[in-house]
């Protein structure tokens, strides 16, 4: 550490350049991960924040809400199965909200209508206004982002292409589905909207898209065997089953993976070049008795200090960027995410310095003396 720090302080410019490159890499990694996280939140936060552990879909629906249709009569059966502590039905439909028959662009808002039973565990916490009630089927609870679009409590809006209109009675926070604001409606109203066309419910009594289950250690196979024509998956699998979700996350992850792989090479090469420049110096120290371990530790601790500094600066820059980003940007930093990627970057940097350490062990102190005959 001593040697490492002395050199860092002596050759500030040289190390500053490496730090700048590392900071830029770290910054990009954090921003990309924040964007990825923001996007996946936008795509599925309603699903992700639900207090459900398992989801029962129709068999063959590939864990997708939009491909699944079940009867809510299954509820009574599924609740009796072992380890199931509670069950609640859910339905989703994409729609467009239209403010007072307006034809202006800004008055049309895409929404996701989420049908739930008022008072069930699927109902998110209200931050303003009232919660859903079965007695008021057209009273809905919407995501607070709709406030920015000019939809206030008490406002009534039309659903484009239907005769239904809904009245906002409360707001919830961080509830989005398929990248648009979630609008929670009582189950009865959701059915009216979704199955407006005769026969579209395929004759299912009390149709819902899926039944959400609460309970630890539920055995999906057991449920599948007890209830015919069902497919039970974890909530995480259901999130993955959302249309486009996997692809979207895959894109971001792919970029991150490439970025990390490239940064490993770039940093490795930098550390290697710096080590190469010091071959003679290390050789002399070896001649006067420095062990490989001593010199290796000097390199690794130097890389550690450089990496840590760069990552911290990268994090600060990222939070700075987040603060000035436009509000609508799907950017969401989470501490756990920042910590994870910091650790990954640190590990990559340390691994990339191994090449340099290997180089040191191969230095022949005799050559450094320049006196080989």
């Amino acid at each position: 550490m001593f040697l490492a720090m002395k050199e860092l302080l002596h050759s500030k410019m040289r190390f500053l350049m490496i730090v700048i490159i590392f900071v830029l890499i770290a910054w990009l990694v954090f921003i990309l991960s924040g964007l990825g996280n923001g996007l996946s939140t936008l795509a599925a936060s309603t699903f992700k924040t639900m207090k459900a552990d398992y989801v029962v879909f129709e068999e063959g629906s590939q864990s997708s809400m939009s491909k699944s249709l079940l009867s809510d009569q299954l509820m009574t059966e599924v609740e009796l199965l072992p380890n199931v502590s509670a069950a609640a039905p859910m339905g989703t439909t994409m729609a467009t909200a239209l403010k007072e028959q307006s034809t202006k662009n800004e008055d049309k808002v895409d929404i996701a209508i989420i049908g739930i039973n008022p008072g069930s565990f699927l109902e998110p916490a209200i931050v303003e206004g009232e919660s859903l009630s079965s007695g008021n089927p057209t009273g809905v609870v919407v995501n607070s982002t709709m406030k920015d679009e000019g939809y206030n409590i008490g406002d009534t809006f039309q659903l484009d292409g239907t005769t239904e209109s809904l009245t906002i009675i409360g707001y919830v926070e961080n509830q989005t589905y398929n990248h648009v604001a979630s609008v929670f409606t009582p189950m009865a109203e959701w059915r009216k909207i979704t199955f407006a066309a005769p026969g579209s419910d395929k004759g299912v009594a009390g149709p819902v898209n899926a039944i959400m289950l609460q309970g630890k250690d539920i055995d999906p196979d057991l449920i599948n065997s007890k209830l015919s024509n069902t497919d039970t998956v974890t909530r995480a699998a259901a999130v993955q089953g959302m249309p486009g979700y996997k692809e979207e996350n895959g894109t971001i992850l792919m970029m991150l993976a490439f970025l990390l792989a490239i940064s490993a090479f770039v940093l490795g090469v930098f550390f290697y070049v710096i080590t190469m420049q010091k071959t003679n110096q290390f050789g002399i120290m070896k001649a006067i008795g420095a062990s490989n371990r001593f010199l290796g530790k000097a390199i690794v601790s130097q890389v550690f200090v450089l990496s840590l500094t760069s990552i911290v600066v990268g994090i600060l820059l990222t939070y700075g960027t987040a603060a000035i980003m436009p509000k609508g940007m799907p950017f969401k930093l989470e501490t756990s995410l920042v910590v994870t990627y910091s650790v990954i970057l640190l590990i990559i940097a340390m691994l990339s310095s191994i090449v340099s350490v290997r180089k040191i062990t191969k230095i022949d102190p005799l050559k450094a003396l320049g006196r080989v005959e």
């Binding site: 110096q281 008795g289 420095a290 003396l369």
Partner: protein
Amino acid sequence: MTKGLQMSEVTKYYAEGSNRIAALDHVSISVEPGEFVAVVGPSGSGKSTFLSIAGALLKASEGDVKLNGYNISTLTAKELSNIRLREIGFIMQSSNLVPYLNVIDQLLIVKRMSGKAKREDKEFAIKLLEELGLGSKLKSLPEELSGGEKQRTAIARALINNPNIILADEPTASLDTKRAHEVVSLIAHEVKSRQKAAIMVTHDERMLEYCDKVYRMEDGKLSLAESSRSGVAHV
């Protein structure tokens, strides 16, 4: 346990094409503590190979090398590095200081190689440097030192671990006459007062007056020249 450096019948071969060239040819030498020995000879005569083997940097093809009682021909690379650290003080051609360490840290880094630099190490380092006339340069970087000062720092560095053997490889190569005398007389003084076994490889015949014995190296063979001390050596 015998102190100092003993080499007996040491031979070093280098492969050159299909031939073997003996860079050292059955070299025997013994240097006692408190003895300052010079090795002179034309370039290519094997002086450096000799010093590298004595300094545990190179293994002999045949023969035994005993450093302070350790037979270094049988040691592993790791043990050799430890021997270099504890038993040998190297003074090199150009001082070869670490560019980003100040004078006192040049010495303490050697201490750190074997663990921690303690307070008494620092005191000893300061004492050494003052002895060598560097008391006012403790915080200077190598780039701020003159050639003589650098070489004196290197002498102090060679002594910091209190080794029993001092090996000097052309220590006056980059110095003018006045500084060269200064540096070699300092080495001689330290060797005598601290009872080190010292070997200096040199071209510089002006410096032989400081040495107890002068050996001549020619085509890998080492032979004792006339004892010096009497003034200019007759070699």
